[in-house]
Amino acid sequence: MATVDEPIVVESQSPIREAMRAFRQSWAGMLGLILLILVVLFTYVGPFLYSVDPFEVIWAPLTAPGETERAPLGTDYLGRDILAGLIHGGSATLYVGLAAGFITITIGILMGAFAGFFRGAVDEVLMRITEFFQVLPALLFAMVLVTLFPPSIYIVALAIGIVSWPTTARLTRAEFLRIRTLEYVNAARSVGAKNSRIMWRVILPNALAPLIVSATLTIGIAILFEAGLSFLGLGDPNVFSWGLMIGAGREYILDAWWAVTFPGFMIFLTVLGFSLVGDGLNDAFNPKLRER
């Protein structure tokens, strides 16, 4: 420990760098990161290495995996290649997940920050709105939105974003309420910082850790949502996705287990990747919890 008159190592330890180092030591986080990298490579590099059109009928319907070299993971009820589907089904899912995650975080942080910072009437109004959106059964509402409006992946992303932000808003608000009472906020004000500076430059950076964790988890949830909608046949019909594959294979599940199992497993791996990264980040940001 340092003393006033004793020399100490003058090497700054940035909290962010500390967290990153802790993240690298968390097996969950690293495993998740590896999973995500694999999924991304599979989705974005895969099409160049395996150029089969997922919509094209290439073999007899409902061929089991391993029966033909043309379709190593088997074919679906129309005779389309499952592996090609897996490779092409990821990009829409990832896009919707990230876009919906972005919308969620943006709305959530804005609502939560204003509610928690200004409190009083602003808080009251914003929290009523949040509460209202929390009351809506998210998937049903998203279903309604995508049926009322012409289905496209943008609408799907928007629908998911609209129903998921309240959690982030509540979290942000709680963090703002907690941090705004800390003395360094008063200190910033007493040296002449404006409200906007205090909100975005002082409180937000300190609230970021749990928000980043929650953002990671939110992307996972958004992916599950997208999969659910596609499974129900409510996604963009022109875009191939894993959820769509499961929905299509569902009728034939007892004849062709592979048609639902593989795409589901891909979704699972992707969401698992995000969950594990979230776990790892959580550990990295809360060293106290890690030591317990």
């Binding site: 009351v135 809506l136 279903m143 309604v144 999969a227 589901g264 699972f268 969401v271 919890l289």
Partner: protein, 325 residues
């Protein structure tokens, strides 16, 4: 602050939320592309010009928007959620007919998830670095990450193909006639897989939450006090810690009710469980908007009620809220 006044305030609050959901429904009808009358009638309902004219008249669609809203709210509050053209029945009747199945499914899954999840969480908190703890963490991450309909389908494969012991579709077997108790048993038998599927996801979350919350509480001063007065270790867990650790579980269970209803939509679809979820799915495919919006409304009300109950339960479990006001 007294309890009765609090309940009245909460009820008022809930009522405002119900109104808000109705307003949202109304807005959706008007924001959707196309003629609101079409939306109200349902595109596929085979609505004739006459019918559309009729709808325009009843809902005052030629009048200013706020008048229309007034009419809509008035009708909705009287229980008139419109007419389903696909099923050719009042939406309210349709929804009411299917609600029971959904509630049965959701409540069963929730109770299962809370009971088993809490238990696992407590076990895991005992040795935070032990095997049980690791397993619980693993199971909860896996349960959380698997798409619920996929979990359901995997269970279908398992129990229809590998070990066929549970029925994989519907709520009861219409071919059997076994009397009242036989019917109940049959329903329970059918309930196992859907409830399990829905339960697993939430179980994972409750186990995780309980573990975290137990770990925090086990480090607190009053647990040290309990140990210092000679309380046995088991009782420290069951009596002193759990009672406090359950509080966040109650909160989350309440907040999540909405997402559980959503989850039920997917599970019902997988297992052809005749609840609101399948109804919603069918009516969406049929573009039967009145039914879809009716279900959205009804499910929201369900969530509002669940939140209300959570709030009251929380007040009973936590004395700080009860008397703090």
């Amino acid at each position: 602050m007294n309890m009765a006044w609090m309940v009245v305030r909460r009820l008022f609050h809930a009522f405002v939320l119900v109104l808000a959901v109705l307003v949202l429904n109304f807005l959706l009808i008007h924001l959707a592309p196309g003629d609101p009358a079409d939306v109200i009638a349902g595109e596929m309902g085979g609505a004739t010009e006459e019918m559309l004219a009729d709808i325009r008249k009843t809902y005052g669609l030629d009048k200013p928007i706020y008048v229309q809203l007034g009419v809509y709210l008035e009708r909705a509050l009287q229980g008139d959620l419109g007419q389903s053209f696909f099923y050719n029945a009042p939406v309210l009747d349709l929804v009411a007919g299917r609600a029971g199945a959904t509630i049965l499914l959701v409540v069963t899954a929730l109770l299962f998830a809370i009971a088993v999840g809490t238990l696992l969480g407590v076990l895991a908190s005992h040795k935070p670095k032990g095997i049980v703890s690791g397993l619980v963490t693993l199971v909860s991450v896996v349960g959380y990450s698997a798409p619920i309909f996929w979990t359901g389908l995997m269970l279908v494969i398992l129990f229809a193909w590998v070990i066929p012991i549970f029925p994989i579709a519907n709520m009861f077997d219409i071919t059997k006639d076994t009397g009242f108790f036989g019917f109940i048993l049959d329903v329970l038998h059918h309930l196992v897989l859907p409830a399990l599927t829905l339960g697993i996801v939430y179980l994972a979350q409750y186990a995780r939450l309980t573990r975290a919350s137990m770990l925090e509480i086990l480090g607190s001063d009053y647990i040290r006090t309990a140990r210092a007065k000679g309380v046995a270790e088991t009782k420290v867990y069951t009596h002193h810690a759990l009672r406090n650790a359950i509080l966040p579980v109650v909160t989350i269970a309440g907040l999540q009710f909405g997402s559980i209803v959503s989850g039920a939509v997917l599970v019902e679809t997988v297992f052809s469980w005749p609840g609101l979820g399948t109804l919603a799915f069918e009516s969406i495919l049929a573009r039967d908007y009145p039914t879809v919006l009716g279900i959205l409304f009804f499910s929201s009300v369900l969530v509002i009620i669940a939140n209300l109950i959570t709030d009251l339960v929380y007040r009973i479990v936590d004395p700080r809220i009860r008397t703090g006001g």
